[in-house]
């Protein structure tokens, strides 16, 4: 199998110090960072037993459109797992192998394969590999978009400010 993404949450090539706590300006202690990672794992396990109303989504993150000239500068892979509980979309996941450090991450609105505007921004570690961790409130229109496979996750990087990885959210199989 050629999908070389790492297991979600605490990917093997991302050390704990890269864990993208929202308060990334304050360096958390190793203990707190470990707790955070364990917490994420617990969250992920709990998502497996999420209530019947919760919907699970998944996006495979892959390089933005490339050409023979840009295929070595737009790189990487990843996975975003999303749980919709009520109107709250919880995103977890990982990315790796980007050409340069991540700068920001967004959820966008757009039907499959049609780029569109930003719905929400979330913080991401300034690394070429790392984790995704966000919680986003969706309005009615955005909820309809999610149901129509019309939300996607996009990660930008230093050398690809227009975006390096992206993936549309589809119901998890």
């Amino acid at each position: 199998m050629t999908n070389r993404t790492h297991p979600p949450f605490c990917p093997k090539d991302s050390s704990l110090k890269h864990f993208p706590l929202k308060s990334s300006f304050v360096k958390p202690s190793l203990f707190i960072r470990a707790l955070a990672c364990i917490g994420a794992l617990v969250l992920s396990l709990s998502s497996l037993t999420a209530s019947a109303q919760d919907m699970q989504y998944r996006a495979r993150l892959s390089p933005m459109p490339t050409t023979p000239q840009t295929k070595s500068t737009i790189t990487g892979a990843g996975e975003a797992l999303a749980t919709l509980s009520g109107t709250t979309l919880t995103l977890r996941g990982n990315f790796s192998g980007m050409s340069s450090a991540a700068t920001m991450a967004h959820v966008h609105f757009g039907p499959p394969a049609q780029p569109g505007p930003v719905v929400a921004a979330f913080e991401i570690a300034a690394q070429t590999s790392g984790a995704l961790n966000a919680s986003i409130e969706l309005n009615a229109e955005q909820l309809r978009a999610l149901a129509a496979n019309s939300l996607y996750v996009q990660i930008h990087s230093e050398s690809n400010p227009a975006g390096e990885l992206r993936g549309w959210l589809f119901p998890k199989k």
Partner: protein, 737 residues
Amino acid sequence: MSLLIKQLTGLTPLLLGQRPLLPGQKLLLLGKSPLRRLITATSLGVALVSCAPDSQTSATASVESPAVSAFSAQADAGADLFSAQCAVCHGANLEGTTLGPLLSGRPFMQRWGERTPSLLFANIKANMPPGGNESLEEADYLAITAHLLASNGVDSVAAALTATTDFTIADNASEVAAGRQRSAPPAPQGLTVTGNVDDFSPFVPVSDTMLEAPDAADWPMIRRTYDAHSYSPLDQITTDNVSNLSLEWVWNMHEGDSEPSPLVYKGIIYLINPGNVIQALDGRSGELIWEHWAGPANRQDMRNIAIYNDKIIQATTDARLVALDARTGQQLWETEVADSSKGFSNSSGPIVADGKVLLGLAGCARYIKEDCYISAHDANTGELLWRFNTIAKADEPGGDTWGELDDIFRAGGETWITGSYDPELKLTYWGTAQQKPWVPVSRHLTIHDEGLFTNSTVAVNTDDGSLDWHFQHVPAEALDLDEVFERVLIDRGDEKLVFSLGKYGILWKSDRVSGEFKGYKETVFQNAFTDIDAKTGHVTYREDIQNAKLNEWTSACPSSAGGKDWHSMSYHEPSGVLIAPLSQTCLENAAREVALVQGGGGLAASRKFFEMPGTDGMLGKIGAYNVDTMEEVWSHEQRASFHTGTLSTAGDLVFVGDLDRRFKALDVRTGEVVWQTRLGTSVQGHPVSFAIDGKQYIAVTSAVGGTSPRTVPDVIATEITYPRWGNALYVFSLPED
């Protein structure tokens, strides 16, 4: 500021002096230059494939250099730009790669020698690089043009090129400079290995009756039968014993772009190689019987050849038709199909139907008087019998579907995939490619200018070449997604049907007597059309595609690699399913400006590629479709794209090969992979099955090269690696007890 200006300001005389004029170099050649005469006098067949290093940059430093010309400085800047922007596809020394053609030596001069720098510049600017690069300015394109000219022996020019420089290129290339590119020995021509098929298996001339109902042991034409089923009635190899399938022998082929479909007749394999080379091999032992080079000896691709009576009939990449003695490979006759100096070419060969050689044509994107056609030739002499033009001129039926465009600027409609034939109806069915350039705004047309008879199924009468009916699948095509591929003829009860599957991934069904639309099925995700009329098959493009402006990016699925491409599908009659090799990628497309200038034209779009959303990165798909209900019966998806046609057999197997070197057998009823092996490089071509003395064989080629179906997976599935050489024919069978 353009890159050129940046670079020029940093240049020193010493740096500029790295491209000195050579001793004995002529300054200006008037009239017929030696090079020009050489081009004219030498047979096209003695083409030179220049892979030599750029000798200009290795000229000795001791040569005294006069003042460096503006042209030379421009060419130097262009060399750096070429290295950064173009070399990845065309090679650092313009030698070409599997991603882009060579740009030096005789092939370059044949195409551009009699034309002007202005036209070359416009062509590059409108079409290159394929992914677009907004940072390249006019001065940069001029510099790249100067580099190409300098590298091809243009050394008597002093002034820097401008967008309107209009000298004849060959007139300004010296023999000395040209000579530097001619170090390779001339390629062979004619028979290089002599032998006689009769010494291996008594040859029996191939009759019309034999082609209409081939012996189960034979594969006597592309897709085996006139109805293009790509189905073998042989049933020795089955789902139960296929796990024992073993290699009998392997034969290395000539290198170059290769997508071949071998012929097999009475145990002899007739194999088209890159560079217009045909070999006859003993199917049992893999022994070479004869080899013939029809020229030009390039690295270009030809998908198939034909056999009829005692002849092997081949189309060449420079649009000639050649007949060889099937027993000995001796050439019997030759005729020109179209003028290759005007860009015409062939990448697929003929079928012989109704006693006539039926052949398509490619390379029809230029703004010239001549357009594309399907032609019929006498199988015994090569004499032209009729032509069917795929582009309607202003005063012809369908001529009002091209807006106000002058006939010269109506381009496209290539028939680059071999058609099929119904002997009862005496109709031959072909797909046509889309209009050129690729986007309506580039061709100075709108989404309402349908452009007959492009992107259509045409049913042509084999008696006289008249059009019996047509169905245009995608009028005013806007994304480089053509509907040109094989037409599969299927009878269900009283219904006589024709099926096709184009780059949009839509399986189309029509009545092949009347042309009436009968149904469709989307086999992969597509978002180009917001509506497909269930009654008429009429498609409606998404609004932003309809109104795409110049240099505006439009995102759509599938990509130009095609939901389906040239790899033909197979019809498994026992289960009533079509099994299609499919591909799941998407593209962003931006139209470029093309001036309406005679001799211009081209494709004119920038493109980028990405994974198809919702497929989990699975580029390759094999889908099986019930031809009655049009429902998907099963599918098999995988990361690696598929690069062969599908072969189905009476043993309930489907054979197919992929980019990741795997050759697989699937159960035709379930899609389960029941056998696989790994070959030397990517598996590409068309698997066939044949029998000798009651023993069934499966043959397939490994191969490299090709256009979008190769380049798109190469940029998306970058982790899949394989040797960039290794064209070969592999033959498998069951071990004897």
